[in-house]
Each structure stands twice: as structure tokens, then as C-alpha cells.
Symmetry: C2
Subunit: 218 residues, 2 copies
DNA sequence: CCGGATTTGCGTACATGTATGTTAACCCGC
DNA sequence: GCGGGTTAACATACATGTACGCAAATCCGG
């Protein structure tokens, strides 16, 4: 459905080994597949990262990967954990709780916008890899230390996460989209509202409301 | 990728007319295709709504549809406009601006959660069908009437929309997902935070912050 | 070292959206 | 009514993820 057309000369993923020529045992492992996937992401982006191309990179038949991954989503889960590790130098524990949460949210927004594969995973199911959980715990801790009770902290965290992922999703859906020729100006304007500044404004509203509605003084 | 398995006996979309037997001209039209799509959505859900099945319903070859729709996304755009029309009895102009915006946001949340096809479209590109634009203008008007200036209104609207679509996306991604057996309790808890109540809390935070940070008194 | 058991790489097949080119049905002027 | 031109319906083909089951390679007890 609206499949991304390769940029012309991108190979379709034919294996180099001729069919019938079987690779020797132990040629591939799960971690090698994950590495190949990360390489492919960096080289050609998420859309071009297909099972067949990964198999070709590893010089193996496509179905061979399925001994090590349940399906492509399973592979992407692990890829995203790696991306999280690489991208989230857990924010320094300084500044107001608002500033610290803003840093954390901004970090995730940045990753999800830069890496459509990561956004894909976040939209498929909850991300519960170790680093994602640590990140959540960190944000909950910031809220607790700011004086919010356990329930309010969870509600606030969920709202921030929802806003962050939602923003990344809408930003991504807008990038590379142009309104059909005869379109209302208002529409095109709103489409532009996908900047980091806009993200920051909305997040400021949200944090301000959290303070007012759920804070220890409330 | 993690393709939905049909519930056993769901037909694969074979046409009734034998191949080589061509349908007479004027058998299908764009609006008939949209109607068939809406029927299919109601009957079997978005995942089961395939081009081949629509064609079978209309007793026509699959590629025949493409004379009337650019691609499946184009079809879904029109389907969503119909769903918006059917589902959005534009909220009564009563109550505080917060209450009115809450009603509007709640309406969209409800539609997107009930109808995965609509969420799909909202995540693909901006929705600028007439009803969607009217809805946006209505929300902007509510904000202007509450005393916000044009710029603040747009920023606030964008934040609310982001939060609403984000919530629907995460709620959908969680429904029908069960954590892998040995999962941390904290994770499973947060997964549950996808209720309408949770939506309302986050929205209350957001609206409160909008009032405080962007209001006429600010 | 040998033969069954186990592991693992793989061939085939199917459903999906849709690009591309073909052809049959219709329309219209004569 | 008939023949040329237009266009709607279509057949074919391809890339994708992956279910299913086979077969080769390796392992292990004797």
C-alpha cells in the first residue's frame, strides 16, 4: 500500500550464492542479523530494509533468518533497543523537574523522528526493552522526587509519552507530504506545525498543567 | 510483516466471474467502491479489507478498481471522510471552552480507537477532508472565542490534536497485545493506561497548561 | 567410525498492493 | 450499420513477509 519505490538501481536482494548451494552451519546468528539490520538502516533507511536484502547481505537464503527471529517485528524490537542505547545518554540529573522531563521527551522525539523504524515499533506495541524501561523508571523517579504521588506520576508519564510519540508520528506523516494542488491555505499552514519549537510549546503546556492539576500543592 | 491471519474460512477474494469473462462497462464507480469499502469495514474490519476482496464484492477484477482510485490510501481517505461525517455530530456550542474542546477531542479519540482504518489514515498524512477541516476550524474558533490570539490558538490546537492522535495510536497498539511471559510488572501496568479516563486526565493537564501559558491573562 | 537424532539452512507457495501493457466494449460520425 | 477511436476492464508480473515442510549438515551414543 503506497509501497516505497526504490531509487532506481537498488538491487532487489538476490543472493550471491546460487540456489542449491547451502551455506555452512553457523553462518548466521541473531546478533549478526541485528547488526546487518542496523547497517541497512543507516545505509538505505527503514523502507529499504527488507528480509530478502538482509539475507543477501549475510549471503544466506531469506527463510534462514527465521530460525533466529520470530518475524520482522521481533527483529525490529531488538534493533530499537540498540538505537535507544546509542541515542539516549540518560540526561543529566540537573535542573528543574520540568527541564529534566523536557530533555528526556526531546531525546525520544529526536530518535523517533530521525528513525522511522523506531517509530514503527513504538506504534506497533509497547516498547519494554531494558533501556526503554529504564527510561520510564527515570522519568517516574523525576516525578516522584518532584513531589507527585505514585498514581499522579504514572498518569503524567503516560500523558507525556503519548504526546511525544504522537508528535513524532504526525511529524513523520507530514514530512514528504505535499497537499494536493488546490488546497486550502489553512490546511497547509497546520501541516507546517511540526517543528521542534512546536513540540516544545505543547510539552510546556502539558508540564504546566501537570504541575497545576496533579502537583503536591494541588 | 505480522500479517493478520484470517479467521480460518475467510475467502481469499476469488472473483465469481470466470477470468476472460469481462464485466460490462459502467459496472463500478468510485462511490460504489467507497460503499463497498465501508461495508467491508463494518463486516470484517480494516485488516480484512483488501483490494482483491473489494473487487470480488463488486464482481470485478482487482485492477479494475484502479481506474477510479489512485491507490488504496486514496480510497481510505474518502472512507475516512465518510466515517467523520457519520461520527461527528459537531458538538453543541455550550459549556466552557475546555468542555467544548474536550468533547471534540473525545469524539476523535473514539472514532480512531473504534476504527483502525481511520487511525491508519491519520498516521499516513494530514487529513484535510472537508469535515476534518471544519472540525479544525471549529476548535480554532472555540479557542479564539476564549480569548486566545491566532498564533496561540494554532499552537494549542496542534498540541491537542497531537495528544489525541497519539493516544489513539498507543491505545490501538496495546489492544490485543500481551506482554511476553516473563515481563516486569511495571511494564504491564503501564500498558493498561490506555483507558478513556487516562485520556481525560492527560487532556485536562494539557488544557490547564494551555490556559495558564497561552491564555489572554498570560 | 557408524547410524540415528537433532539442528539449521532452505525451496516452495501464498496473500498482499500495484506498475505496466493489452483488449474488449462502447460511442459517434458517416 | 459500420468502422475508427476512446476508454473501461483486465491479465500478467513483481516485491514483500512468512507458513510449511524437506533435506543436508552436524552431533552423539555405541
Amino acid at each position: 500500500m503506497a509501497v516505497a519505490r526504490g531509487a532506481g538501481s537498488v538491487t532487489t536482494g538476490a543472493r550471491r550464492r546460487s540456489p542449491g548451494q547451502r551455506a555452512s552451519r553457523g553462518t548466521i546468528s541473531r546478533s549478526q542479523i541485528v547488526e546487518a539490520a542496523l547497517r541497512s538502516l543507516r545505509a538505505n533507511g527503514f523502507e529499504q530494509m527488507t528480509i530478502r536484502r538482509l539475507a543477501a547481505d549475510l549471503d544466506v537464503a531469506p527463510m534462514s533468518l527465521y530460525r533466529y527471529i520470530r518475524d520482522k517485528d521481533d527483529l525490529m524490537d531488538e534493533v530499537v533497543e540498540q538505537l535507544l542505547i546509542q541515542s539516549q545518554p540518560l540526561p543529566a540529573a540537573t535542573g528543574t523537574w520540568q527541564a529534566r522531563l523536557t530533555t528526556a521527551a526531546e531525546g525520544l522525539r529526536h530518535l523517533l523522528v530521525k528513525e522511522p523504524g523506531a517509530l514503527y515499533v513504538y506504534l506497533r506495541h509497547p516498547v519494554i526493552s531494558p533501556t526503554a524501561i529504564r527510561r520510564m523508571d527515570m522519568m517516574l523517579k523525576i516525578l516522584r522526587e518532584a513531589g507527585f504521588d505514585a498514581a499522579s506520576s504514572k498518569t503524567a508519564y503516560a500523558a507525556i509519552q503519548t504526546y511525544t510519540v504522537g508528535f513524532a508520528a504526525l511529524a513523520t506523516s507530514r514530512s514528504g507530504w505535499t497537499p494536493p494542488e488546490g488546497t486550502n491555505r489553512t490546511a497547509s499552514e497546520l501541516v507546517a506545525m511540526t517543528s521542534p519549537k512546536q513540540f516544545a510549546s505543547g510539552l510546556r503546556y502539558l508540564l504546566s498543567g501537570i504541575e497545576r492539576e496533579a502537583g503536591p500543592a494541588a
